[in-house]
Symmetry: C2
Subunit: 234 residues, 2 copies
DNA sequence: ACAGGTACTTGACCTGCGTCAAGGCGAACT
DNA sequence: AGTTCGCCTTGACGCAGGTCAAGTACCTGT
């Protein structure tokens, strides 16, 4: 495996490659030998913050698996404004669209923090999918879960008002971190885009929630949820 | 295979089972022998109109493949209103959510026309996925395409105004049928739900389009598109 | 063929949220 | 440390589209 990672510098990877691969959810069903084989094809890279992984129009021949860090996936709508599609973290993958149907997509992906990312060539992945059906099955699980959460997004934007969506988003963050103090993974501007509101509306609703004593906003995108039950009922 | 298809009557299937299976996209990569094997496990059924295929809360152990007819998939949002997720036709499948992660989903599915539907037991399908990787790969393609179209729905609802979404929907129907006279596959109420507007708004926008001479509404949900270019620019 | 219910249309009203604008604050680079 | 740029907040305003209501047309089942 040659160190040809676009213009990124090489990985200062924590632990050996096989351990890293084994921790990736879509390879979790494989045995040690299979993991080794995949590890030999993987290209781990440290990617700096604010690096564009792929952009609209270009066909990128890599499936990216995030080992550490955060990546934002978004698109630019016809009317020119940015729509955040999802935010990916450790264990998530991206770039599957081009793998499955190699047409240009209008997605953009950019790192939000310095990230440790493995790139797998599409040809290799296609081979794994055919050879190790459990990999394909796990990808099906992931895509199915993504589809469901995107459907949630549709019903929320179409059916709930801005306040409900924002409250539900905060409660969701709290639920998955099991804490009542959450950190927004992205800027408020991006959260607003993700929730289908303007930054102004988000700002106003958060101020309103704070007035009612339901939340407390600290520095650095950190928000304490003081009354989760109230937020659930919004 | 015993004829135990809930309370539906047995299929008066056109052509033999193998031909039918071979025409299903997710099995298109298989050879004759494999098709035969699958055909022996398939339960084809004629389902009447307005029949509920599955409802929220219940875990339905079948993957359904639509051979003829139309099926509407929707959910009921927390605030109680119906949100149409997608409309499926010949060659499409549904029920894959429970196959992949057998948790109760909040989806409903109902036939809009009398439909010829094949049911495959989840255990059987799981076996095919592991044994014939091309089946899994085709399912990946389909899910990926669905994901993309659901993402389109998100950006459209969040970013475009009602008129644009409605015009784009009409143009989309025309594009896929290659004709400039289209038939809405579902009621206007359902189209409205799908597009994230109220039936009143849909009605008003269509009247507006007609005023401008861009469309002509006939009986029976049939609409002639008189000026597709104008609609594209809305 | 009839009756009933649902889908659709149109009108009047009103409000939530987007838009425009201006000011403060923090973060990143030199 | 200073400067700059983009993020965030708050205010004022207007309108797209949701809501409520009433009437008409359709479709469906008997």
């Amino acid at each position: 495996m040659e160190p040809r990672h676009e213009h990124h510098h090489d990985a200062g990877v924590t632990g050996d490659l096989e351990t890293l691969v084994a921790r990736v959810p879509i390879f979790s069903g494989l045995d040690h030998e299979q993991i080794s084989e995949i590890a030999s094809r993987v290209k781990p890279t440290m990617v700096p913050r604010n690096e564009q992984l792929y952009g609209a129009g270009e066909i990128n021949p890599y499936l990216r698996i995030i080992h550490t860090g955060t990546v934002k996936v978004y698109r630019i709508t016809e009317s020119g404004h940015e729509q955040v599609i999802r935010v990916l973290g450790a264990g998530d993958f991206l770039g599957e669209k081009a793998l499955i149907s190699p047409s240009a997509s209008d997605h953009f992906a950019v790192t939000l923090t310095e990230s440790e990312i493995c790139s797998l060539n599409h040809d290799d992945i296609r081979e794994y999918l055919l050879r190790y059906p459990s990999v394909a099955f796990t990808m099906l699980e992931t895509l199915s879960a993504r589809l469901e959460s995107t459907e949630d997004q549709v019903s929320a934007i179409a059916g709930e008002d801005a306040g409900s969506r924002i409250a539900a988003y905060l409660v969701g963050l709290a639920d998955e971190s099991h804490r009542n103090s959450v950190a927004l993974p992205i800027t408020k501007k991006d959260v607003a885009s993700f929730l289908g509101v303007t930054p102004e509306t988000l700002s106003r609703k958060l101020a309103l929630f704070e007035d009612k004593g339901w939340i407390h906003q600290q520095r650095h995108r950190r928000i304490d949820l003081l009354d989760i039950e109230a937020l659930r009922l919004v």
